[in-house]
Amino acid sequence: MAPEPDTMPISVDFLGGLETLFSNNPHHTISLPLLNPSDSSPANVGFLISHLVKNHLKHPRTEFFVHSDGHLTPGILVLINDADWELEGEEECKLQAGDKVVFVSTMHGG
């Protein structure tokens, strides 16, 4: 499919059970607006998260992905182009077309 204007393709993977919140599909290629409409700032990971919640999260138990304040639930690991997001500035990390973001829910059962 052709990309929508003023958007960029971002590869998003959900692992460790998070895929069940997103139509049971571990892999999505989404069209993310280049700018965050709320303040016209360039799209970063924080904006990606709110975009995912608004457009792709199809499950009543949203608390498994985000807090009520919109921040990512603790215990979810984020890798941006294979690097730990803590090293990339977490939600502030700017995104570019083609970036690969992986969300992994930590497991504790045995």
């Binding site: 608390e63 639930t73 690991l77 992994v104 497991m107 504790h108 059962g109």
Partner: protein
Amino acid sequence: QNGTSRRLTDEEFDRYSRQMIVPEMGKEAQLRLINSKVLFIGAGGLGCPAAQYVAGAGVGTIGIIDSDVVEPSNLHRQVGHATSRIGMKKVDSLITHLRDLNPLPTYVPYTFPLSPENAADIISQYDLILDCTDNPATRYLISDVCVLLCKPLVSAASIQKSGQLIVLNCPPTPQGKLDKKYPPCYRCCFRKPPPANTQLSCGEAGIMGPVVGLMGVAQAGEAVKILASGLHLPSSTPETPEDDPHNLIQPTLLIYSYDLNAAPGPFTFRALKMAPRKKNCFACGENSPQTLTLEGIRSGNPNYVQFCGIQTAKTTL
């Protein structure tokens, strides 16, 4: 390693010959296994298969700690137990099974829970720790004590249709050492636990037997390779991650995703590269000797139960 030059007994040779002839194994690696001590924390869905293969491989001393008893709902996945041993302590049930599989190792049962008070005393007696437990509070406790006692840790977890595995603190590196890149601890990778209302146990959320079983066997595979190859020994010349051929300093987090509606596909196994030891890590980072000590842990600091936001660690699976 003392004892890696003795002869194998006929019985040892009979039992271990099929793995000793594998390239890069051999008699010395077998003797390293025989001279090693491994602790399994948890005798459930991960601990059962992991212990079967570690015992089979001939690791000389096998400690197992778990306070639970065998229940019928365990048996679809906890394949080291049996219907005839329902009601028995899981540790005793599993050792019964393991002793018939291989009578040569020394088996050490601990039929009480791992706690901040007893963790260091027990963990200090082993060369390698397998985290086969089922709750975040115990996972953070195990990792913290492993950092302080310089023990490598093979950590696995599983729930519903997913599993994860990572080798941590290997080669073991003293707390606070950061002059080069060193391997991460559990807290480096998983800084904060999930909130209590999103923590699900296998009892509440369910678990597919072959999923947790696969993670347990994979844990045994990592344990056997670490001990046989001496990867747990402190390295005199640690590599930088750029040229680390061992994947130890930046270990991969292995994720298994089991899909009931599909055969294996490109997402079935993912290997995610983790960062090395983090400067700001509470347990192993720059200032960690001030924030985390064995004394502190023993006297309730940090408070693991509070940190994980639950009243009591869930131990029923």
